[in-house]
Symmetry: C2
Subunit: 206 residues, 2 copies
Amino acid sequence: MWMAELAARSGLPVPTIKYYLREGLLPPGVAVGATRARYDESHVRRLRLIRALVDVAQLRLDVVRSVLDGIDRARNRHEAVGTAHMRLSQTVTDDDPPSAESMQAVADLLDRNGWSLLPNSPHRIALAQALDAIARLGLPAEPDILDAYAHAMRDAASVELGLVAGTEDRELAVEHAVIGTLLLEPVLLTIRRIAQVNVSREQFPD
Amino acid sequence: MWMAELAARSGLPVPTIKYYLREGLLPPGVAVGATRARYDESHVRRLRLIRALVDVAQLRLDVVRSVLDGIDRARNRHEAVGTAHMRLSQTVTDDDPPSAESMQAVADLLDRNGWSLLPNSPHRIALAQALDAIARLGLPAEPDILDAYAHAMRDAASVELGLVAGTEDRELAVEHAVIGTLLLEPVLLTIRRIAQVNVSREQFPD
C-alpha cells in the first residue's frame, strides 16, 4: 500500500508517520522510484503498537524506541513479551535504591509463591520501592496482603494470557501484551475500588 | 503541643503547616494568647493524611480540600471512607462521556457479581471510560476478563479491609483507606506483572 492508505488504515496523519520513519521507529517501506515506497500489514501493526505505547502507555519516544528495539531483538514470542514488560517497568525504577528489608520481603514473596524473576528484572526493585513508600507512612504491607495479591493476580493472569495465546504473530502478541498490561490497569484498579465498596458494605453495615 | 512539636511529630516544616492552616486544610489549634496555639493528636493525624494525599496520591490542594471536606461531613466511618474513595476517583472522570455499550457492560458486570453502586458513583463512569479506551484499540475487554478481575479483587478486598477493621477512629480509618487504596496500587500492579511473567513461563515454555 502507499503512504495515503497506510495513514487511512492506521488512523494517523501522514506527517506523524513520516516523523516515525525519520526517527527509526517505523521500518522503511520498499522503495519504488526516488520518492515513493510501498508499505504492508507489518507497518500497520507497528504503527498501532507505537500508538498504544505513546497514547496509552504515555511513554516518551526514546522509551518507545527502546521497547521496539527489545522486541525486534527478541528470539521468540515469550522473550518479546517479556522484554516489552521489562522496558515498560524500567521507567519507574530510576529512583532511590530500595531498602534491604523490602528486597527481602520481595524475595520471601517469590519463594512463598514458587515464583522466580531474572536477577536484572525491574519488577523486583519496583516492588521493593513500592513497599518502602508504604512503610514510610507507618503502615507496612503485611505478607498476608502480598499473598492475597499474588493469589488474585495468578488467577487473573491465567485468564489474561488467554488473550495472547491465540496468536503466533510476534508483533500482535506484543501489542496485546502491552495493551493488556497497561490498558487493563485502570480497569483492574476501578474494579478493585468497586469490590472495596461492596465488600466494605457487607463487612461494616453501620 | 506547640507548633514546634507538631512539626517534629509530623515531619513537616513549620512554614508548610502554617500554609495548611491558612488554607483551611488543617483546623486551627486552641489559641493561647494572641500569637500561640496548642495542637493535639488530631492535628498530627490530619497532617499525616494531608501528606498522604499530596505526596502519595499527588492530588492538587483543591482536591485535597474537597476530600477533607467530604470526610468531615460524613456521618460515619464507612461513609467517610466511601467519600474519600469517590473524591479520589472523581479526578479521572472529567473526560469524554462513556459509550452506552460500555455503561451496559459495567451494569452487566455489577449484576453478575451481585454488586451495586450509588447512581452518582464515579467508579461506574471511570470503568466505562477505561473499557472504551481498550475498545478503541480493537481489543475489547471480554466479560471473562472482567469477571476474573472482579473475583480476584473481591478476595483481595476482604484481606485489605482487615487493615481498616481494627480501628474505630474515623481519621485513621480514612488514612488507612487512602493509603491502602493508592499506595497499594503500585504493589498490586507490580505483583500482577510478576504473576504474568511466571504464569506465561508455565503456559508458553518456548
